[in-house]
Subunit: 464 residues, 2 copies
C-alpha cells in the first residue's frame, strides 16, 4: 500500500510537531492518577480534565467528563465523515500504584527521557495510547481539516481498579456509542519493536481471602500450641490451591476452558521466544506452571491463580511474639475463553470454605472480574491493521495473545456487540505494573503513524 | 507463719503510701519503651533512667545504667545484710510493640485505672514487677532502715526483643553478680488472683524466612502461569511445617524433648482448667495442636511452631495485579527441656531449604533464641515463696508452667549457676503482648506484700 498524499503530509506534520507532542505526553505523565487508591481521586479527575482539554484542542466535539459513579470517563467524538465507518476508540488515563517506591530510579511521576525511552508510571500503560490517539486526530485535523472516519473516544479512569463502573456506563450510553468497530489500545508488541497484533486477552477474577482466629493478637508463648494460627491456616489454604503438577486444584475450575487447537499450538511454537532469555529477564533460575504446556501457552491460553499480596501479624523489624488475630490475602485468576469470572469466584469460594480448617473463620470477597476475549485473525479490520503496521514498522506483524486482561474489551463485544481490534504499541520490556515503567519513543512515534494510516485505510475498506 | 512486727509495720506503711506508689507506677507506664523498634531507643533510655532514679530514691546503692551494646541494664544493690542470703532480682522495663493500635480502647501509653485494673502497655509485662520490687525495698528501708537480705537488681531493657546483649553482660559482670538465688519476676497467676508459682518456662527460637522470586514485582497477567510466585512458595513452605496431626514435620525437631512424666501429666490434669472457657476467652470455636496432649500440656510442656507475621506484595485497598518479587514470614518456636534454640533453628533451616521449590531463593535468619527452664518444686526457696504467697493471698499456690519464654531465666542458671525462682503476680487475662494490656491492682498490692515477706522469710531460711 503506497502512502497517499494525505499520509505524506501527515508524516511531515508529525515530524515537525514532535517536540511539542512530547511535552504534552510528559505533562499527562506528571499526574499521579492511581485509580485504586482513594487518596488519588482528585488526580484521576485532573488527568481526565487534561485528556478532555487535549481532545477538544485537537478538534474533537461533544467533549465530556462523564460521571460514572467512580472516576469519570472522558468521551469525545467527531462524526462528520458521512458514511465512512465509525470507530470507537478505547484507552485509559488511570495508572497502577507505584509501590515499592524504593525501587524506582527516579520518582514515578517525574518523567525523564533516556536512551530513547520515556520513564514514568503510565508511560506505557496506558497514557501512551491515549496521547497517540489524540495526537493522530490532531494531525488529521491540522493538515486536512477533517478525519477520514467517524470517531468516538472512550477514555476510562478505572481500568487498573477493575473498570467497576464502565459496563453500567456503556449500557446507559449505548445509543450514543453506536459504531462499526471498537479499537482497544492497551496492548503491546511481543519482541522489541517488531509489530504485533493481539488477538486474545485473558480475563480476570480478583478476590480477597480473610481469615480470622482469636479476637485479638495473643501471646505466642502463653497460647502457642493450642489454637489454630490464622496465618498458618491461610498458608494451608493457599498451598492447597494448586496440585503438585501446577494445576489449580479447585473443582470445576477448568470446566469452561476452551482447549488450544493443534493449529494454535503450532503457531505459538513458531514465535521467536526463548525460555532462557525469559528467565534471564525475570531474574529467576527456573520457570513453573501447569504441566503439559509451553511457557507461551501458559501465559496466553491457560488460566492461572496467583497470590498478589498477603499480610498478617507483625511485619516490622525484629520480633513480636504473637499469634495474629487475622490473616489476609489478595488472589487473582487469569481466565481464558470461555471461563466466566463470577462462576470461577464461586468455585474458589466453595473450595476454600470446604478446606478451611476448624478454629478459624474464613471469608472470600470478589473485588472485580472481567471476561476473556479472542478475536479472529481473518476479520477485515485486523487485516487492515496488519497492513498499516507493516508499512510503518517494516515487518509483517506477529499474531499474539496477551496474558493480561482488559475487561472492557470483552464488554465492547458483549455489551455493545462490536467487533474488537486490539491495537497497541508498547514494548514487552516496559515494566508496566512494576517500578521504572517506560515507553520506547520509536514505538510511540510508529504507533502514532500507524493510527494515522489506519483511519484512512479503514475508510477505504469494507468495514462498516 | 504469723506476721512479724516488722511485717505489720511494713503492711501499714504500704497501705499509707498507696496513692503515691500508684502515681509512680503510672509514670513509668507513660514511657513507650518498645525495645524492638529502633525509633523508641530514647524511650528505652528514659525508662532506664526513671527506674534507676526510683531505685536510688528507695535506698539502693551502686545504681548504674549499664551499657550493654543495646538498651541498657539498670543495676543496683544493697549489700549490708551480713551473712544473710544475696538475692539477684530480675525484671525488665521494656515493652512489646502496640500494633494493631486501632484495637486499643485508650492510647497504650496513657494509663488509666478502671474496674480495679490499670490499663497500659507494660502495665503487667513487666513494669508491674519492676515497680513492686523497688517499692518493696523502699518500704523496708523507710520503716526499718535496712533490708533483711542482700539484694542486687538487674532490670533489663531488651527482654521483648530477645535479650540480645544480656548474656554477654552477665558474663562480663559475673564477679559483681555473685548471689545465692535469682528471683525472676516476669510470670503470673493461673486463675484470677489464686496464687501460683511457675516452675517451668518454654524457650524460644525466633527466625525470619525470606523468599525471593523475580527481580521486581511483575504483571500477573503478562507473566502469570509461568513463574513461581514467592507468596505461594512461602505458603507451601509454611503449610509443610506441620503434619496433619499438628506435629512439627521437621526432622530432628523432637529429638531433645524431655517427655512428660506420668506424675507431671496427672498434676496438670488436676488444675482448674476448662477448654470451653479457654475457647470463649480467645473467641474461637475449636482448639488445635499436637495430637495426643491436653491443652495445658500443649501450652506448657510441648514445643510449638507459629507464624508471627507474614507479608508480601500489595496489601492496600483494592487490587494490584502483580506477582510479588518477595515474600517474608516471621516464625517462632516455643521450646521445652532439653531443646536448644540454635539446634532447632538449624533443623528448621535445613528442612525449609530442602523443601523450597525451584524458581525462588529462600533464606532463613535467626533473630533470637532462649533456652527453656524447669525448676524443682522441692527447692527450699520455692517452698518459702509458697508460704509467703499463701499468707498474702489466702490460698495454697498452684504449681504451674508458663508457655512463654524468659530466656534470661535459663541464663541465670547456665551463665551464673544460680537456682532460679519465678515469682510473678500478673493475672491470666492481662492481654500481655496484645491490645488493652492491664494489671489487676489487687494482684499488684498482694505481690508487693509477698515480696516484702519473702525477703524476711528467706533471711530466716536455709537458702545461702
Amino acid at each position: 500500500m503506497p502512502a497517499t498524499e494525505a499520509i505524506n503530509v501527515l508524516d511531515a506534520y508529525l515530524d515537525r510537531t514532535r517536540d511539542q507532542r512530547l511535552t504534552d505526553y510528559v505533562e499527562v505523565l506528571r499526574i499521579p492518577s492511581i485509580s485504586t487508591l482513594p487518596e488519588h481521586s482528585n488526580d484521576c479527575r485532573r488527568a481526565a480534565e487534561f485528556v478532555a482539554g487535549r481532545a477538544r484542542a485537537a478538534g474533537l466535539e461533544h467533549v465530556e467528563i462523564a460521571d460514572t459513579g467512580g472516576h469519570p470517563v472522558v468521551y469525545a467524538d467527531w462524526l462528520h465523515a458521512g458514511d465512512a465507518p465509525t470507530i470507537l476508540v478505547y484507552g485509559h488515563y488511570d495508572v497502577q500504584p507505584v509501590d515499592p517506591l524504593g525501587l524506582w530510579v527516579k520518582p514515578p511521576f517525574d518523567p525523564r527521557v533516556e536512551h530513547g525511552r520515556i520513564y514514568a508510571r503510565g508511560a506505557a500503560d496506558d497514557k501512551s495510547h491515549v496521547m497517540m490517539h489524540i495526537q493522530a486526530a490532531e494531525a488529521w485535523m491540522a493538515t486536512r481539516g477533517s478525519l477520514p472516519i467517524n470517531l468516538r473516544y472512550v477514555f476510562e479512569g478505572e481500568e487498573e481498579s477493575g473498570s467497576a463502573h464502565l459496563d453500567a456506563w456503556l449500557e446507559a450510553n449505548r445509543a450514543k456509542l453506536s459504531a462499526n468497530l471498537a479499537v482497544v489500545s492497551d496492548t503491546g508488541f511481543f519482541n522489541g519493536n517488531l509489530p504485533a497484533i493481539t488477538v486474545g486477552l485473558r480475563g480476570i477474577m480478583f478476590a480477597q481471602i480473610d481469615v480470622a482466629g482469636p479476637d485479638i493478637d495473643v501471646h505466642s508463648g502463653t497460647f502457642g500450641g493450642t489454637l489454630r494460627n490464622p496465618a498458618t491456616a491461610l498458608a494451608h489454604v493457599i498451598a492447597g490451591l494448586h496440585d503438585a503438577e501446577g494445576r489449580i486444584a479447585v473443582a470445576g475450575f477448568y470446566d469452561d476452558v476452551r482447549p488450544l487447537t493443534r493449529l494454535e499450538r503450532a503457531e505459538m511454537a513458531r514465535l521467536p521466544f526463548s525460555d532462557a532469555e525469559y528467565m534471564a529477564g525475570l531474574g529467576v533460575d527456573a520457570l513453573w506452571g501447569e504441566g503439559g504446556y509451553t511457557t507461551l501457552e501458559r501465559r496466553w491460553a491457560r488460566p492461572t491463580l496467583d497470590v498478589n499480596g498477603i499480610w498478617s501479624g507483625f511485619t516490622g523489624v525484629g520480633a513480636k511474639t504473637i499469634i495474629p488475630a487475622q490473616a489476609h490475602a489478595k488472589i487473582s485468576c487469569r481466565l481464558v475463553p470461555d471461563q466466566e469470572p463470577g462462576r470461577i469466584f464461586r468455585a474458589i469460594r466453595d473450595h476454600v470454605l470446604r478446606v478451611a480448617p476448624p478454629g478459624v473463620r474464613v471469608d472470600l470477597t470478589l473485588i472485580h472480574g472481567g471476561r476473556p476475549l479472542l478475536t479472529s485473525i481473518d476479520h477485515p479490520a485486523v487485516r487492515v491493521a496488519a497492513t498499516c503496521l507493516r508499512e510503518v514498522f517494516g515487518d509483517e506483524p506477529l499474531y499474539i495473545r496477551e496474558g493480561g486482561s482488559i475487561p472492557v474489551a470483552a464488554s465492547f463485544d458483549s455489551v455493545l456487540g462490536l467487533p474488537v481490534v486490539l491495537l497497541g504499541f508498547t514494548p514487552p520490556d516496559d515494566n508496566e505494573h512494576a517500578p521504572n515503567e517506560s515507553m520506547r519513543l520509536d514505538n510511540y512515534e510508529g504507533g502514532l503513524r500507524t493510527v494515522v494510516r489506519y483511519w484512512e485505510a479503514l475508510a477505504a475498506s469494507l468495514v462498516r
